[in-house]
């Protein structure tokens, strides 16, 4: 085992240009299709746009959460690749743009925005103090503002440390992370309520925010793990990461797979057991027609397969398996969001066409583009971080 010396010379390696090209290509094709989609069927396009918005939010906010968690917990194992999470968190910067088309089509998405529908509906009338467009706008703006502000604050200190090697910046970021956490919990919960739960304004579930949170962290972790393994294979970290690092990433993903299942099952079981019509209809809608298969599929896609895929110790240490599982989990998160959102659009059966593919293509392109743009003028290792050396030498 060769221990990493503390005063090594960091040589930055630029990401291959092909990444940027791939990102540009996917974004180009995707956005073109997205524009066409909005002309062809703006309701369906708006629903798809919403799915993509939630997906990109998951990765952006989830990555920021993981960064903050690393600072708060004093975690060492994840320090060498914190930059990857920082690049992913930059997704937050384009979220307002992704949200714009959704915001312009609120009427297509949200039943509660129709005044004539609200009138005479006792439940919706009682909810108007919360569910009205001005307040909704304020809230959404506040979520984006909070996320982006904390993103800039945390990233700035981390970048500064590369040059100054000032340890007190870590302390500053720990404090910032502590402040961020409650903000994160509240904004993420309400974001999930506003964007997704209010699609069915009569329905409510107090665990919904936690449900989205579990998927959020999972998606960010999976995206990060994939990027980390690919970069490590090509030697971009200068030092080879070892199975102990992979194991930690895999174990965290495995934990959140279980956490998701726990939360998803809790939500289902309580509603199933209480059997109140004002709650059960949400699940019954997802049992309608071909949605039934999507619902059953969710259990396998989001729990059973990744559970067994990451159960054994060797499977978490094997980078190939991790690479596959992290892509799988990203797909599972998309599947989950599709299952949460789409039944409101087409109640009597699954709707899947070119549009449902166009938006993920654009989203993927944007992710790659942002990642390679951020990576261009930043070090891939947080070279000033006092925990870096210990992180590289991390052993279980």
């Amino acid at each position: 085992m060769s221990a990493v010396e503390s005063n090594f010379e960091y040589v930055k390696k630029d990401l291959p240009a092909s990444w940027n090209k791939l990102g540009l290509l996917l974004t180009g094709i995707g956005l073109l299709l997205v524009v066409v989609a909005f002309f062809v069927d703006h309701t369906r396009a708006a629903f798809n746009n919403l799915i993509m918005l939630m997906f990109l939010s998951s990765i952006g906010v989830g990555a920021l959460f993981i960064i903050a968690l690393e600072y708060l917990a004093g975690a060492v194992w994840s320090t060498p690749y914190r930059r990857i999470m920082e690049f992913l968190a930059a997704t937050l910067l384009i979220l307002p743009l992704v949200a714009l088309p959704v915001y312009m089509n609120l009427h297509d998405l949200f039943h509660w925005t129709h005044e004539e529908a609200v009138q005479g509906d006792y439940i919706l009338e009682a909810k108007t103090p919360y569910l009205n467009i001005p307040f909704f706008t304020i809230r959404v703006a506040a979520f984006f503002a909070v996320w982006i502000i904390f993103f800039f604050l945390l990233i700035r200190n981390s970048k500064k440390q590369d040059e100054s090697k000032d340890q007190s910046l870590t302390t500053k970021n720990i404090r910032l992370s502590a402040i961020f956490m409650p903000f994160f919990a509240i904004t993420l919960t309400f974001a999930s309520i506003d964007w997704m739960m209010s699609l069915e304004p009569h329905w409510f579930s107090t665990i919904f925010g936690v449900y989205y949170f579990s998927g959020t962290v999972l998606a960010a972790l999976a995206a990060g793990t994939y990027a980390i393994i690919v970069l490590n294979e090509k030697g971009y970290f200068q030092f080879k990461l070892v199975k102990d690092h992979f194991y930690s990433l895999g174990a965290l993903m495995f934990a959140f797979i279980n956490f998701w299942a726990y939360i998803a099952f809790s939500q289902f079981m309580l509603i199933w057991y209480a059997n109140l019509p004002e709650e059960t209809f949400w699940y019954l809608n997802k049992w309608e027609g071909s949605w039934m298969f999507v619902s059953i599929g969710l259990i396998f896609v989001h729990f059973v397969i990744p559970y067994f895929g990451l159960l054994s110790q060797p499977s978490k240490m094997n980078p190939k398996n991790l690479k596959f599982m992290s892509l799988w989990i990203l797909f599972a998160h998309f599947y989950d969001l599709y299952w949460l959102i789409m039944p409101t659009y087409s109640a009597d059966g699954i709707a899947f066409g070119w549009m449902e593919l166009a938006f993920p293509i654009a989203g993927l392109g944007l992710l790659i583009l942002i990642f390679s743009m951020r990576a261009k003028n930043q070090n891939l290792l947080p070279i000033g971080d006092p925990k870096l050396k210990r992180g590289l030498n991390f052993r279980l």
Partner: protein, 378 residues
């Protein structure tokens, strides 16, 4: 001193890095029987000692799965086979409701079994002594030092070799450890002192639990939950003159969807006025047969011949194929079912009105089958 049996040689290190290095060197030197003692788990130790993955996980897996399926089997037996009760309108085999219990039992049995397996196999129960216990070495490595102990059991072990190896690693306090004098009567768990401690703990915990559950709960203020300003079912009440806490419904109350039978003591009127609203189709006759077989056949027999299955414990009823029965109107049979006749009780609480009429149709069908006309055969 020298007649004692050597257990091994120990050496002390100051930092985790040194102990990792020492572990690597010792395992590289080919030692198998040695141990590292540290005040907390040091990262990377498994790799440095070249330990194979622990087998304890398999015990957890086996016992965990046993717990899962045992829980499922017990609940299936209780709520599906042995004592099925409808709870909250759920099926007897209410799988989602079983899941939390299966989950908990899995976790419980896996964790308990892991600890028990560890104690039984790895600690060699009931043995509780170890040569390292009570040594200076143990005192140090359980507070702020890191130690390595080479055991004499190892094939490669020689006194000089061990001392040399430890010295080459810059270990401090290189000391031999001997088995305690009374090697032959090993200390075991069944020591009077230990047993009495266990007993003491058992008495305290069970006494405390008994006190908390049987006494404390009934003392102020813990009993507030129990005594509330309200009347619970079956309780007496001082508010009402009759002293009953539960109130009967107001006179004339009808339960929802249940009109009382209006010709209670007027069989003639019933026979004349009541008309069967149902038509004899396959479904109504099926309902009629089902209800007849359940409610009427014990006395009247499956075919209405009055061949009771009650073996004389109840007077046999007349045959339903009598002239009188056959010629009576649907309404009069309906009346007998609804209001009873002499010793035959009323079935109005068991059968809805629809079901009663269906039963009447089935009785008619039975009668027809005993006195079929020539034309019925066609």
């Amino acid at each position: 001193m020298n007649d004692k049996i050597l257990y091994g040689y120990t050496g002390i290190f100051d930092t985790p890095d040194e102990i990792i290095n020492a572990a690597e060197k010792v395992s590289d030197a080919g030692y198998k029987k040695y141990d590292i003692n540290t005040p907390y788990p040091v990262h990377g130790m498994d790799g440095a000692m070249k330990l194979p993955p622990s087998k304890l996980g398999y015990a957890a897996l086996v016992f965990g799965l046993t717990g899962t399926f045992a829980a499922l089997a017990i609940m299936y037996f209780m709520s599906v086979l042995d004592y099925p009760i409808v709870i909250g309108g759920k099926p007897f085999f209410a799988f989602p409701a079983f899941v939390p219990i299966m989950f908990e039992v899995t976790v419980l049995s896996a964790s308990i079994a892991t600890v028990v397996t560890m104690i039984a196999f790895f600690f060699k129960f009931p043995n509780i002594s170890h040569p390292l216990h009570g040594t200076n070495y143990m005192k140090k490595v359980s507070s702020d030092k890191y130690g390595v102990c080479l055991q004499s059991e190892d094939e490669k072990f020689t006194e000089d070799g061990a001392k040399e190896l430890l010295a080459s690693l810059n270990a401090k306090d290189i000391t031999p450890i001997y088995f305690p004098d009374e090697v032959h009567e090993k200390q075991t768990v069944f020591e009077p002192k230990f047993i009495s401690l266990l007993l003491f703990v058992a008495i305290i915990t069970s006494g405390g639990t008994y006190f908390a559950l049987n006494k404390l709960m009934f003392m102020l203020p813990f009993n507030w939950m129990m005594y509330q300003e309200k009347t619970v079912p079956q309780e007496s009440s001082t508010i009402f003159a009759d002293g009953f806490g539960m109130r009967p419904p107001v006179e004339g109350t009808i339960s929802r969807g249940n009109m009382p039978y209006q010709f209670k003591d007027q069989p003639e009127l019933a026979a004349m006025l009541l008309k069967n609203p149902l038509v004899p189709d396959e479904q109504t006759l099926a309902t009629g047969k089902e209800k007849y077989d359940i409610y009427c056949s014990p006395c009247h027999g499956y075919f209405g011949e009055g061949d009771s299955r009650l073996r004389g414990q109840y007077p046999n009823p007349p045959s339903l194929h009598s002239e009188k029965s056959r010629t009576s109107s649907d309404g009069s049979i309906y009346h007998v079912i609804s209001a009873g006749q002499n010793i035959m009780p009323s079935y109005s609480t068991q059968l809805t009105r629809q079901e009663r009429w269906a039963t009447v149709l089935y009785v008619r069908a039975l009668q027809r089958s005993f006195n079929a006309k020539e034309s019925d055969l066609e």
